[in-house]
Symmetry: C2
Subunit: 290 residues, 2 copies
Amino acid sequence: MRKLKDLKITVVGLGMEGGSYAIALRHYINPKNLWGIDIDDNTLIAAEKLGVIDKGFTNPIEPLKNSDLVIMCIYPSGIINFIKENNNYFKQNCVITDVAGVKERLVNDINSFLRDDIDYIAGHPMAGNEYKGFLYASKDIFVGANYLITPSKKNKEENLKLVEEIAYKIGCSNVMRIDHITHDKMIAYASQLIHVIATSIVNNEHFSDDINLFSGGSFKNATRVANINSDLWTDAFIENKKYLIEELEKFENNISLVKDSLINGNREILYNFLQESYVKRNNNRKIFQN
Amino acid sequence: MRKLKDLKITVVGLGMEGGSYAIALRHYINPKNLWGIDIDDNTLIAAEKLGVIDKGFTNPIEPLKNSDLVIMCIYPSGIINFIKENNNYFKQNCVITDVAGVKERLVNDINSFLRDDIDYIAGHPMAGNEYKGFLYASKDIFVGANYLITPSKKNKEENLKLVEEIAYKIGCSNVMRIDHITHDKMIAYASQLIHVIATSIVNNEHFSDDINLFSGGSFKNATRVANINSDLWTDAFIENKKYLIEELEKFENNISLVKDSLINGNREILYNFLQESYVKRNNNRKIFQN
């Protein structure tokens, strides 16, 4: 297995997530070479000056030709395009990984055209903050986080282990392999649905700074993530629309059930619905520890 | 103005909220008499033994005949029935207040039959926890909380001031008068809608203890209140159904907009919706301080 310190690594996209990845690699691993690719010159200059990367590039050819590991930290649809366009430039036997929040389409698309000698290890660190850009990058976003890996049949075990080792090294506490369909379904439910809900609460004429007068904290908790990165989440929702639409429909059915029970004055249906939630929530308390 | 220490007070309903009110009155004011009315003997015995109340009653007549202030801490529909049934037993010129989370129907109904000498001051302390019963009562639930008062034309200023003084004494940091229609609309949006959403997320086959693997914390935050008191909230939703149905419909329209933009692949509509939320959320940051 390759030693992490001997690797030549390129991070593609030095936004909040890619910038954080690069800072964490520098801090916890300090690989032989650490390069950055970005469309924004100023970001590359800043990252170089801060010593986060050895050198920044807007043209990807040179760093890709020399990198053992390429970490894709751009939006999901951009990842596919970037790898397709640069398919011929990657170093022989290199490993590509990514941080995208949706996996099924990426795994299928990328593996359909990727050179046979390259191994694409699909990854998803559940880490970040609600801000955009390199200025909000921090090595600490990975500390204690989950890092999900969705292997495909093409993946070599040593390359899966390589990405897993890096995930632990940069601070993740729980690195787990999961199939990409389960991943995307659960992300649609546990993360994307929650973001659609938060924005759907906020887009209301009653939303104002006075809202805490009328809430014991539940409103604040439900809408914190409405401070959304619209570019990223538009892309992620569309990439995962098959499963997100399913979750939105199940959720809509529940909201309708409550609304209809109120319209029809059916106290029993309403009570049973709330009680079902009470029981489920109490049977799954681990979620709410910490 | 009456001195708080000289008051004879009865708390009706020694559940979590009423029990907490009684404990806080004992601790912060220690009135001349503090009585409790409840349908459950064991609760009354426990409250007596702990010194929270001087005496407990299942038959309300005696304490009502002697109380300057009666604090109604039962479910909204029960409050109207209780006051109607005991209209003749209340002490001359007494003050009744309550803690119900909905106000319009209570204010209108109660004032339509209440004896002219009695002043009903509608109140709503935004305090509590998600548990039921006297065992979960605590004097601390009011500390730092908001206490909303919805005055009616019949109310005497001195009686409004009396309830406000008590609210501050038991620890509330912000006591505010507001009209009952605005109150109920805002409660429908900022509190009841959030509880319908939380239960509608939880009532899903994907809900399990593993969910935190797929969420950075937003799921936990959005579903904490799904641990709902089904009796209380069924009652509160039905009492406020006019405004809650309005809020559910506005919310449903937003969810549909997102779903349709995914089905139709309309990236611009989706982006604009998320961006509207982003801007609103950032223009109202006070909500998220503390």
